[in-house]
Amino acid sequence: MIAIAHPTTLYYLILAAVLFGVGVVGVMVRRNPLVLFMCVELMLNAVNLTFVAMARKLGDIGGQTTVFFVLVVAAAEVVVGLGIIVAILRRRPGATADDLDELKG
């Protein structure tokens, strides 16, 4: 390792925060349900990055274990979410979040 300058934990936290923010904006702006999920995945990845950065700062493996759990949760979430999307798009191809207006809200 050639030590020029080490990015501190702060760098990683800021990167994660920006990633999380991009995900939030995406969820609020986009309309395609598939893309909405992808934005939620961005948010989860930001959290993972935060956990790993914190784990290194603390010298504690627990943060990495948590990321493992988050991965499982993300996988389960996506499976169910895509199941719902397939169920809905099979009836109405090309639906976007705005077309889902059977429920007025």
Partner: protein, 192 residues
């Protein structure tokens, strides 16, 4: 060295993330997502989380995004979304405000507690132990496994419940409605 890695991977992450929310085509969004995921995996390796980096690629890039692409292709919902249309006028400014607000909040929070982070803690217990006696080749994996099956064993078992729910749920959702007795959306108009 780590800084260079950080900058390149960080650019991948942010570039990919922006791609996800800017590209109008779902497949392009998914590919941008892959870029972000790889960036994150690289950052994991840079922070000594090799196992997670591999799992990140296997689970996210290898399973989740493939599933996304699969659904996009299978259902043929791959037409581009017209991003110029803005259904609610207030939506985008609001999203921008919320997004910037959240990022600002966290960054401020992180910077105010900066002194907890800036002095690089080379003497954190694990690292300290590592310098005195050379670590095993796969130290990270061993630590992770030990933690997973001792301190977090209950959480680990809970993930199995989660997976059972995902399986049961998908089976339930994947059933086609029987066409013979389909009920229309409004029962009042349906011949009873």
């Amino acid at each position: 060295m780590e800084l260079v890695v950080f900058i390149i991977a960080g650019a991948m992450v942010i570039g990919g993330a922006l791609g996800v929310i800017i590209r109008s085509h779902p497949v392009h969004c998914a590919l941008s997502l892959v870029l972000t995921l790889f960036g994150i995996a690289v950052l994991f390796i840079a922070q000594n989380a090799q196992f997670l980096a591999a799992v990140q690629v296997i689970v996210y890039a290898g399973a989740i995004v493939v599933l996304f692409l699969f659904v996009i292709m299978l259902l043929g919902v791959d037409q581009a979304e017209d991003l110029r249309i803005e259904p609610f006028k207030i939506q985008r400014p609001l999203a921008a405000v919320v997004g910037v607000g959240i990022v600002g909040l966290i960054i401020t929070a992180a910077i105010t507690s900066r002194n907890a982070f800036t002095p690089k803690p080379a003497v954190s217990p694990a690292v300290a132990a590592a310098t005195t006696n050379p670590p095993l080749h796969d130290e990270n994996i061993r630590q992770l496994a030990r933690d997973l099956f001792s301190d977090h064993v209950f959480a680990f078992e809970l993930t199995s419940v989660l997976l059972v729910i995902a399986v049961v749920g998908t089976v339930l959702l994947a059933r086609r409605p029987d066409r013979a007795q389909a009920v229309t959306t409004d029962a009042r108009k349906a011949p009873v």
